[in-house]
């Protein structure tokens, strides 16, 4: 089925509007809900958050005490990471990162949805996907197996991030630095292997402008790759310098946690892309 260029344009505009409106509504609803929670908590507790228990008046405490931060947030706070609002116990940066990840979810859905649409309409044919079964020169493995190895690498990097965060919380700065260096190495290898796969496709004549398959594939994997590179820059410019200067201390746990959220989301996107593009 051929789609009219005007229709494609209309779909693109519709998707972009949905993306913008959806993101705005999602953030708006989230903020309003949070604001209500904050107001409710403030109604009973004048002044900053103090985790006070008054056993002699258990009913009054239940009404007036703001929600206790989760164990993870408490662990981060104990290390000296103080950017935690008084009422709900939610860090501004962490809250912002989650809202950002919500918008990223809609962004990638639009791209993945377009890929699925072209698969359904036959504009991306089984013949296009056969490229993934071709062996990659030098390595000799089919591209899909090479990408499976790349998936292992990204999953390992996610594991390394959580271990790094734990090492920071448990005041083991050398270990934390080693784990984050591991993330840097694994992320760089991931981007390198992606480059090998791309160059193989170029050699076979698949380019971004050559076909709908090429456009969809390179846009999807390209945007994901850009996210990985941004994560690596984050490590190199902000976290690792701290790790080498004075060591990552418990006060840095919040920063490592925020980076981890971003990195794990990038991992989740790859889990979805691997299944949708290479396996189905």
């Amino acid at each position: 089925m051929e789609l009219e260029p005007g229709l494609i344009f209309a779909i693109a505009i519709g998707a972009a509007l949905l993306l913008i409106v959806g993101t705005a509504v999602a953030i708006g609803v989230g903020l309003i809900t949070l604001d209500r929670g904050v107001r409710r908590a403030r109604l009973g507790s004048a002044g900053p958050y103090t985790p006070v228990v008054q056993p002699e008046e258990p009913r009054a405490v239940a009404v007036s005490t703001p929600p206790t931060p989760s164990p993870l947030t408490q662990a981060v706070m104990r290390g000296g990471y103080v950017e935690v609002p008084a009422t709900l116990g939610l860090g501004h940066t962490k809250l912002g990162m989650w809202a950002f990840l919500g918008s990223e979810m809609i962004f990638f859905t639009s791209l993945i949805g377009a890929f699925l649409l072209f698969r359904t309409t036959g504009e991306i044919s089984p013949g296009d996907l056969r490229h993934f079964q071709e062996p990659v020169p030098i390595i000799g493995l089919p591209a899909v197996l090479l990408v499976a190895i790349n998936t292992f690498i990204l999953l390992t990097s996610s594991f390394s991030v959580v271990m790094g965060l734990d090492a920071v919380i448990e005041q083991k700065p050398r270990q934390a630095r080693a784990f984050l260096l591991g993330v840097l190495a694994l992320g760089a290898i991931f981007v390198g292997i992606q480059g090998v796969e791309w160059s193989n496709l170029f050699r076979e004549g698949v380019t971004p402008s050559e076909s709908i398959f090429g456009t969809s594939f390179f846009v999807l994997t390209g945007f994901h790759g850009m996210h990985v590179i941004v994560g690596l820059l984050w490590l190199v410019l902000f976290l690792l310098p701290r790790g080498f200067r004075g060591g990552l201390m418990p006060a840095d746990a919040g920063s490592v946690e925020i980076f981890g959220l971003y990195w794990h989301f990038v991992d989740i996107v790859w889990i979805v892309l691997f299944t949708i593009i290479y396996l189905i």
Partner: protein, 99 residues
């Protein structure tokens, strides 16, 4: 005077999930995913199976690595708010493909 809850906070030991187990679970699921594509399973079952494995992996990462299982429920709500829009986009594209 030290408060009872302060004592509880200061002696709290950082309990972590078994990250290694989650990691091996993710690896095993990925191996299964790749393996079943070579088994000649009918397309419909293969697609359903692959999507189920994918969803399970996503949930594992979100719950354990992103700490949604132990962290404040607010973050889970914020992460889930865009889901209806995700479904809306996919539904719009699906109906477009049916034309």
């Amino acid at each position: 005077m030290t408060h009872p809850q302060e004592i509880e906070l200061s002696t709290h030991t950082h309990k972590r999930p078994n990250y290694l187990l989650v990691f091996f679970g993710l690896l095993a699921l990925t191996v299964f995913e790749v393996a079943i594509t070579y088994l000649g399973v009918p397309d419909a079952i293969l697609t359903a199976g692959l999507l189920a494995f994918m969803l399970f992996k996503v949930i594992l990462v979100a719950l354990f690595y992103m700490h949604l299982r132990v962290d404040s429920k607010w973050f889970t709500y914020i992460f889930l708010i865009p889901l209806p829009f995700v479904l809306l986009i996919l539904a719009a594209l699906y109906f477009e493909a049916q034309k």
